[in-house]
């Protein structure tokens, strides 16, 4: 078991059949690897100008979808089926509206664990961390997008996930809710040894959140560049470092599209 490399995505390609039976290459030889963090989790962004390629890649990494070609390795061991170690959280809420908060979180563990005490302990811990204590009997539908996101996060924590795949978690969010989710993502990576992979079409969010960004082309999706974020530098929307990074990434994106910069 290779403890140095957490996840390896090797030559992943995906071809789907479009309208009128035509073949569409969604992903083409995607390659990247994520090192195993020693002390705390890390946040990695997969950034692109369009989201279908990103969503497809996340589904493949979580083994929800099968790739047309290529292989995936977790701790150096190839995997084909989802085992709950890599949890995918879709863009829209994935919490079940027919279950309350506690039942939603329990769903992640009760079918895989026969020890009721252990289940209760894990569920309680996850609920507490996600800031949902006191809301155990609430239903997702009665609450905000942020609340539903917290349920999905609690579920992943209860499942002992090693990698959390978030599909555009900040899209269509504004103001306080966006800030709340933003902070929650940072908190998970700090508190738990969970690596978070975020698919994002928003460059600013990717820079502010991530330790590393994989830039992807579109039609088909392919990892074209890797940007390491220097966390020792001041990182806010108004900082020079942020602006330089943003311009650099935009330039690279325009380059992939063969669009001349003005």
């Amino acid at each position: 078991m290779n403890r140095e490399i957490l996840l390896e995505v090797k030559n992943i390609s995906k071809t789907v059949y479009g309208m009128a039976g035509s073949k569409v290459r969604v992903l083409d030889n995607v390659n990247f690897q994520i090192d195993n963090p020693e002390t705390k989790g890390q946040i990695i962004s997969l950034a692109a100008v369009s989201s279908p390629e990103l969503t497809s890649l996340l589904k493949i990494i979580s083994a929800v979808e099968k790739p047309s070609e290529g292989a995936l390795y977790l701790y150096g061991k190839q995997f084909h089926k989802p085992e709950g170690k890599i949890v995918f959280i879709p863009e829209h809420s994935s919490s079940f509206p027919w279950l309350d908060v506690e039942q939603n979180v329990k769903f992640a563990v009760k079918f895989k664990n026969n020890n009721p005490e252990e289940i209760d302990k894990k569920v309680k811990e996850a609920i507490l961390f996600a800031g949902l204590d006191g809301y155990e009997t609430h239903f997702p539908d009665d609450n905000s997008l942020g609340f539903r996101f917290r349920i999905s996060v609690a579920r992943a924590i209860a499942a002992d996930a090693k990698i959390l795949l978030l599909d555009e978690p900040l899209r269509n969010l504004h103001g306080e809710t966006k800030k709340e989710i933003f902070n929650l993502i940072k908190e998970i990576s700090k508190k738990f040894n969970i690596t978070i992979i975020i698919a994002s079409t928003n460059i600013s969010d990717s820079i502010l959140l991530s330790d590393k960004i994989f830039l992807m082309t579109r039609h088909p999706g392919k990892v074209a560049d890797t940007i390491d974020i220097d966390k020792s530098k001041e990182l806010s929307i108004h900082s020079d470092y942020f602006q330089v990074l943003k311009r650099e990434i935009e330039k690279l994106f325009f380059g992939y599209e063969n669009i001349p910069l003005k």
Binding site: K59, V64, I86, F88, I89, H92, S94, R155, A159, L165
Partner: protein, 253 residues
């Protein structure tokens, strides 16, 4: 909500208006006619229905056939839900093959065959209603399962939950509101087909009362039994809606 209550208010206004119009027109202006019976005669016809047409027995036969068949069909589909919602499973394919026939052969024709095969059985009415309920539900569930939000399925799959759990606890669960809503349509369809079936077969049930009332040219019995059927279906709808709002009150939008 406000719109709904306003609509309901208007509906009740219309119902009361029709009722008053019926009393005025058929009690006082046109007491002897062949269109609708006199309101006072309708009141009297209840006792005739009770005694001569054996209303309690015939009513209990039809109502039990309708609702027992729906109930049993629902529990059977729940038990088989793992197969029904699964695409390309042979059980699903087998059940859905009947759907193809039902596009061209009305259910009542199948009822004719049942009458021919088992003319004296008291159970064929139940069997007929049950088969309609079962196949209607299977077809509906299969159609609806294609509309389940893939976000629910994807997230459950990534948690490493088994396929049977996903079928039962995610797909089947998320289908519940639409299935329960469909029961309202289903009860109406079964009432319609079953009354026709009883009318043709004779023997027992509300369809038999219709047949006798037409034979005896008893307009008031015909009218009264129609009111009873209408009120029963209305109460059935209220009951199903109550269950839906109480136990299956989530939205998938």
């Amino acid at each position: 909500m406000r719109l709904k209550s306003a609509q309901a208010k208007n509906l009740y206004k219309y119902i009361i208006s029709y009722f008053v119009l019926w009393i005025l027109l058929f009690e006082f202006i046109l007491p002897v006619n062949n269109i609708l019976p006199k309101p006072s005669v309708v009141l009297l016809s209840f006792s005739a229905l009770w005694n001569y047409y054996r209303l309690p027995y015939n009513f209990s036969v039809t109502i039990s056939a309708v609702y027992l068949s729906i109930l049993i069909a629902y529990f059977i589909t729940a038990a088989l839900s793992g197969y029904i919602v699964r695409k390309n499973h042979f059980v699903t394919e087998l059940l859905l093959s009947f759907h193809w026939f039902s596009n061209f052969i009305p259910a009542i024709i199948f009822g004719f065959f049942l009458i021919y095969w088992l003319p004296s059985s008291i159970y064929i009415e139940y069997l007929f209603a049950f088969l309609i309920a079962l196949f209607s539900l299977v077809i509906r569930i299969n159609e609806e399962s294609a509309k389940v939000k893939h976000e629910y399925i994807d997230s459950a799959v990534s948690l490493g939950v088994s396929e049977s759990v996903i079928l039962k606890k995610v797909i089947w669960k998320s289908l519940q509101p639409s299935i329960i809503r469909y029961l309202i349509v289903l009860q109406f369809n079964i009432w319609s087909v079953l009354i026709s079936f009883e009318f043709i077969k004779g023997g027992y049930g509300l369809g038999r009362i219709y047949r006798l009332a037409i034979n005896y040219k008893d307009l008031s019995a015909l009218f009264t039994i129609s009111i009873i059927v209408g009120v029963t279906i209305y109460l059935g709808t209220l009951l199903i809606n109550y269950f839906k709002n109480k136990f299956y009150n989530w939205s998938l939008d």
